[in-house]
Amino acid sequence: MYRSLLPHDMFAELDRLQREMSRSFDYSPSIRGMARGGFPAMNVGGTPHSVEIYAFAPGIDPAGIEVQIEKGVLVIAGERPSALPAGDAKANVHIDERFAGAFRRVVTLPDDVDPDKVTARYRDGVLHISIKRRETSLPRRISVQ
């Protein structure tokens, strides 16, 4: 009797719901606007002596990861090849969720880090970058004369 003029409405509605749900879980957006779920996922933390950055980048040749600090900005870039069989191979792809291709993520560093004191290690698919803070920025006791 009654037919919707837009039969795709239901799917649009589902799509919107899904987007809203994923947004409500997204409570810590990055300042540089990189969407959450970008590759690699990153955790950032700090101690009084250092800034610690963890980039979750599994399945990458460590030699191929480019880590750069320039003007207080840390850039992590590289490429992850696709593991899926080539199009002409006799194989069916059932699920394709893993990231493939070039990636680049940028983190703004605090002002007090020392770009000369950086260590970067790749272990279990996680790139751990540790940057020391400058000594001068540590809290110091000033004696009153």
Binding site: T47, Y54, F99, G125
Partner: protein, 127 residues
Amino acid sequence: MNDKTDVARKEEARAAAESALMPPVDVFEDATGITLLADLPGVPKDRLHLQVEAEALTIEAEVALEVPEGMEATHAEVNLPRYRRVFTLSRELDTDKVSAEFRNGVLTLRIPKAEHAQPKRIEVEVA
């Protein structure tokens, strides 16, 4: 009443302890079997648990990162220390012959098809 709220609280704590991230996977199939790749960054080899039971494949893994003392997290995208994902396998897969490799946070599982489910190649002999 007190008992009940206690039980409810315990249930809640259990659910929170068991919530896990869903690792992204690639799955592809060829004539001889299925290959599954899963991203599990931050998981050491001994914290990865694979289980096949009643045609369900369960991948469970715990994240263990080297964290310096006194670190305060300011931004976390990987915000749970655990991964879990369950797949239903089909009957023609030979679960006794699953092989697994885990390198640089990527798990590669190969699940071959049972002999009878594999396409047979008939050799043509030239007389």
